[in-house]
C-alpha cells in the first residue's frame, strides 16, 4: 500500500525506513537460509499438529505443509468462481473527481468511490463528489465503510477519519481526538466499534463510550506502528501490519496473537504453506471461516489450521504485488498491479485489460487448465487498489477510474 501511495500521492518515505528494510532483508536472508536448512532437516520424517491454543505463535514447525493442490480440510467441491463481464468504466468524464481511485464500497443502492480528489457517491446513475469544502477531513479518500447499525459512513482519508452521518461530516484526527494517526489506510465498522489501520498504529473507537484505543509496537506484537489493513471476523480483528505480518486481536479476551512469515523478510517462500507468505502485509479479509492475507509477494489463505500460499507462478494470481483484497463469502478478490484476481482457493478468474485498447480477458485457471474469455470492454486499468462485490455486481477501483461488472454465465 505504501508503494501505491508513493506512486499515487508521493507519500514521503523516510530514508531510515528504506535503510532499515535493506538491512532487514540482507540480515534475514542469511539467517533464514541457515535456519531453513536446519529446520528442514529437523522436520524430515515427522510432523505434529498445531493445537492453535491461542497464544502460541504460528511457526514453521507448527504449520503442516500442504502437499497436494487440493485444499486441506475442504471436503467436496468448492463453489465455482463467478466470472464478471459487461464491464462499465467510470472516469472524470463520467463525473468522478479523479481517475485515481483508491477504494470502492457498496451500500445498498449507492456506491462510494474514494479518489485522490474526494469522495464520489454513485446513486441513480449519477456521481456526486464530496470534498473538504463539504467537511470531509481530506480529499485523499483511501477507505470507506458503512455501519450496518447506524448507517453512518466512515471515511478513511490521508488527513484523518470522517464520520459522514446523514449528510453531516465530523472529523477525527490525531490532533482533536485519540486517533493514532491521520493516514487512515483502512476503516471498518464492527457493530458499535470502528477500527482503523493508520500510519501510527491500529485504532479502535467505541461509538458508545467515545473512547479510543491505540495499538502500536508499544502495546501489541508489531515491528513498527505502520498498519495498512484491518478486517474482522469470528470475534477477532485482523490487522495487516508493516513488517509484522498479521496481528490477531481477540475482542473478548483482548489478547493478541501474531502471524508472521517463518521465512522472515525473504521474498521467496522457502518452505511452502508454512505460514503467512511475507511480513509486509497489505490487507486482510475474513469470510466463511477463512482469513485471506495479501502481501507484495503473494497471497495467503488461513483456515485456522492450515496456511496456503499463492503466487503468480503457481496459481491464477495476476501478480504477487497485491495492494488489497476482499473476501465475499467463499470468493476472495485480490487487487494487484497487473490485474484483478478472484479465487475460491483452488480455481481462479483473473481480469486483465489489454495495454492498447479498452478490451481484455478473463483468464480462468483450474490447476493446469487455463481458459480465456474475451471481455469488451474490460476493467478500466490493471493497477487495482480497491474492490467490493454484492448481489452479482462487482465494483473495482483502479488507477484510471472505477469499473463495474456483472456476473456472466
Amino acid at each position: 500500500m505504501r508503494v501505491i501511495l508513493q506512486k499515487f500521492i508521493k507519500l514521503p518515505f523516510t530514508p531510515n525506513q528504506i535503510k532499515m528494510k535493506k538491512v532487514i532483508r540482507n540480515q534475514y536472508l542469511r539467517i533464514t537460509s541457515i535456519a531453513v536448512i536446519i529446520l528442514g532437516t529437523l522436520s524430515m520424517g515427522f510432523r505434529h499438529n498445531d493445537k492453535n491454543d491461542g497464544d502460541s505463535k504460528a511457526s514453521p514447525s507448527s504449520a503442516p505443509a500442504v502437499k497436494s493442490e487440493k485444499l486441506p480440510g475442504v471436503t467436496g467441491e468448492l463453489p465455482p468462481v463467478p466470472v464478471y463481464g459487461k464491464w462499465r468504466n467510470f472516469t472524470t468524464k463520467d463525473g468522478l473527481p479523479s481517475d485515481k481511485a483508491y477504494c470502492v464500497r457498496i451500500d445498498g443502492d449507492r456506491v462510494f468511490a474514494g479518489t485522490h480528489d474526494g469522495l464520489a457517491v454513485y446513486q441513480n446513475g449519477k456521481w456526486k463528489t464530496y470534498t473538504t469544502k463539504d467537511g470531509l477531513a481530506h480529499n485523499g479518500v483511501v477507505s470507506v465503510d458503512v455501519s450496518e447499525l447506524t448507517g453512518d459512513v466512515w471515511i478513511g482519508t490521508l488527513g484523518g477519519l470522517s464520520r459522514w452521518s446523514a449528510g453531516k461530516f465530523e472529523t477525527f484526527n490525531q490532533f482533536n481526538s485519540g486517533m493514532p494517526n491521520d493516514l487512515v489506510y483502512m476503516v471498518i465498522c464492527v457493530g458499535k466499534d470502528v477500527w482503523v489501520a493508520t500510519g501510527g498504529g491500529a485504532g479502535h473507537y467505541d461509538t458508545f463510550t467515545k473512547e479510543w484505543e491505540i495499538f502500536t509496537e508499544k502495546n501489541a506484537p508489531m515491528h513498527e506502528p505502520w498498519t495498512y489493513g484491518v478486517s474482522a471476523g469470528d470475534g477477532k480483528i485482523y490487522i495487516a501490519a508493516w513488517g509484522g505480518g498479521v496481528i490477531e486481536y481477540n475482542t473478548k479476551t483482548k489478547q493478541f496473537r501474531d502471524y508472521t512469515d517463518p521465512d522472515g523478510f525473504m521474498e521467496i517462500d522457502l518452505q511452502p504453506n508454512d505460514g503467512i507468505i511475507h511480513d509486509i502485509t497489505t490487507a486482510t479479509s475474513w469470510a466463511d471461516g477463512i482469513l485471506w492475507v495479501s502481501t507484495y509477494f503473494g497471497m495467503s489463505r488461513y483456515d485456522g489450521k492450515y496456511w496456503k500460499g499463492y503466487f503468480d507462478h503457481d496459481s491464477g494470481l495476476a501478480s504477487n504485488f497485491i495492494n488489497f483484497l476482499r473476501a465475499e463469502g467463499p470468493i476472495v478478490f485480490a487487487c494487484s498491479d497487473k490485474g484483478l484476481s478472484s479465487t475460491n482457493g483452488e480455481s481462479w478468474v483473473t481480469y486483465k485489460k489489454n495495454d492498447n485498447n479498452e478490451n481484455g480477458v478473463a483468464i480462468l485457471t483450474n490447476g493446469k487448465e487455463k481458459k480465456e474469455i474475451p471481455l469488451s470492454p474490460c476493467i478500466a486499468h490493471n493497477f487495482i487498489i480497491g474492490v467490493d462485490g454484492e448481489d452479482g455486481v462487482l465494483w473495482v477501483a483502479t488507477s484510471k477510474g472505477v469499473s463495474r461488472g456483472e456476473i456472466i454465465k
Binding site: 448507517g151 485519540g178 458508545f208 484505543e213 508499544k218
Partner: protein, 674 residues
Amino acid sequence: MKKILLVTGIIFVLGLIIFIPGKKLAREHVNLKTAVSDHPLLCTNCHLHIHKRSPFARFDQADYLSPLNLAVSNDGKLVYVAAQDGNALLVADVEKGKIIRKIPVGNRPHSVIVDKAGEKAYVSNQWSDNVSVIDLENFKITDTLSTGNGPAGLSLSSDEKSLYVVNSYSSDLTVIDLESGIEIKRLSTGNNPTGATLSPDGSDLYVTSRRADIAHYGEPLVSHLTVMNDKSKRIKTYLGMESAYLMENVAFTPSGDMAVVTLIRPKNMVPSIQVERGFMMTHGIGIIEQKEDGRIIQLLTDEPNAYYPDPFDIVITPDGERAFISNSGVNFITVVDIDSVRALIAESNPEMLKLWPDHLGISSRYVIQRIPTGANPKGLALSPDGRTLYVAEHLEDRIAVISTDKMETVKTIDLGGPGRITVTRKGRRLLNNAGRTFQNQYSCYTCHPDEHEDGLVYNMASKDMGRNITNTQSLRDISDTPPFKWNGKNQTVFKQDGMRFSTVLTRSEPFSYPDLDAISSYILTGIKYPPNLGFNPSGKLTEAQKRGKKVFERTKDNLGNVIPENNRCITCHPAPFYTNLKQVDVKTLAASDDSILFDTPHLNNIYASAPYLHDGRAITLEEIWTIYGKEDKHGLVGDMTKNQLNDLIEYLKSLRSPDYEGNSSKIHKASIHP
C-alpha cells in the same frame, strides 16, 4: 430599682466593650469578602448559608420536589410529574387537585411519557443513566432499562416496540428494543440533546439540542436538530439552526405541516456593551416546514422593550390553533397564534424571512397573550381535549392548571413540597429568573443552563471591544475553588455578583444584599455536579485511566529527566478539586488579551466543559496539547506518545466531584432494578 440600674449599666458597659472592637473587625472582614463597605453586618447572612459542609447548613436544607416535565393520562384525569429533586414520579389527580401517588425512581428524573394504552409510563433518570418502566395499574416499577449518559427526552416508536431515549450528556440517541429491554443501537445527535417528539404520522423522530456545535470564536453558531427515521431507525438528517442554541423542546402541528422548536439567539460575538436593543440575548422559536425543500424559519417571541427568556417547553393545541411556550426566565407562558405565523411566512419574501429572526417588533403579529405563572415554569402538557394546559412550576413545587379558553390559571395543584422557601431556594429562583437584568433580557441560567455553562465564548467588552474573549465557566460546585473569573479577580461570589456585575452585565439595579446573600448561598451550596457515570461510574478507574493517572502524576519524563515542579500536571491541578487556586501563565495569552495570569481551573467533570482554555480555542481536551501546548508550558507533553496522551485524557475525563468519592455505590443504587 438600684439593682436594676446597676445591672443595666453593667450590661450596657460590657456591651460597649464587646461591640466597638468587634464591629470594627466584622466590618473589615465583610468588606474584604464583599468588596463593598455597606453590606449588612449580620453573621448569619453568610455563615448560615454558604458553607455546604457546616453543621448550620442543614438549617437551610429542605426536600424540594422541583417538577420538571409532565404527561397527562389518556383519560385526562391524571397528571404524571417527573419531580427532579424528589427523585420520584408523582401522580396528581386533576379533579381532587392533589397528589395520590409518589413512586420513587432513579436520580434526577427528567421526562415522563405514557404509552397509547395508558398502561405503562417511562421515566428517564438523568443522573442514573437508565429509564424506569412503571406499571400504571399498580404504580410499580416493572423494569429499569439501561441507557447512554444523561437520559432526558423520551419517545416511543410508532409501533411502540422501541423506546427512544435522548442521552443529553453523551449526545446520542439510544434505541431500546422493548421486548428484550436491550439497547440495540446508539445514534449520534446534535450537541447536548434534550427533547424528542415523533411527527404526527409517526415517520420521523425530532431531537432537539441545547448546545451549538463546538466552534472557535468567530465561526458561525449552529445547533443541530436530529431527525431519525422511525422505520429504519437511522438518522435521516441533521437540520442546522443558525445563530441559535438551547433548543429545549419541539412540537408538531396536528396537521404535521410544521415542527416548532423553542430556542435562544445569543449575541456572544457582539461586544457586550449594552443590553438595549437586544445586544445580549433574544428568544424565540424555530419553524421547520414539513414539506419537500421545507425551510427553517426563526421568529422572536420577545418585544422591543420586553424579553421573554429561557423558553423551555412548547405544546400545540389539538385544533392546531395555538402554541404555548413556557418562558422559565420570566414566569410567563407565551401564547402564539399558529395561523398568524403561517400568514406571516406566506407573505414574507426571502429577505424578510432573513430579517424576522433579528426583529423584536414582529412578535406582535403572532404573540397573542402572556399568561403569568409561578416560579420557573418548565414542562407543559395539554389535556387530550386541549382545553387545559398543565405547567410544571419548577421552583414552586406546584402544577398550574391553565384554561386554554380563558388563557389564565384556573387552579393550582400543590405537590406537597416543604412550604417554606429557604435562603438557598430563594437564591435558586433568583438565578433562574431574569428580573434582575435590564428589561428581563436574560437570567443567569441563560448562559449557565442547568447552572453549568453554555459552551459559548463571549466578548465581554468591559474595556475595549473585540478583546478579552472568554469561555463561559460552569457554576457547578465552585464553593471550594475561589477566586472566580478567568483572571481570578473576584475573591468571592459576593464580589462576582455584586455592583460590577450589574454595571457591565445585567445593566440594571444590582442585587439587594438579601438577594445577593441568597444567590451566593445557592451558588456555593446548592449546585452539584452530575455523577460522572459516563467515564467514572464507580470510582474504579479503567486500565487506560490508571495509566493516565500515572502520567498526570509523573515527576519524570519518558527519558527519566526530572520535570520541573511547575510543569507537572499535579502541581497546579492537585486533588480533590484539581486546582491549586493560584494564577499562572501557561502561555495561552492571545494577542487580543490584556496581560493577565489565568486562574487555574478545577478539573472535576472537565469532560463536560468543552471548549477548553480561557477563550475556548481548544475544541477538545486533546487540542489543549496537540495544538496549543506545543511550547510545553502547560505541562510537559512533548515527550509523550499518543498512547500516553490518550491515557491522560481518559484519566482527565474520569475526574468527578469529591462528593462522589467513597460513596460511589450510592450513585449506583440510584439505578433501581426491580
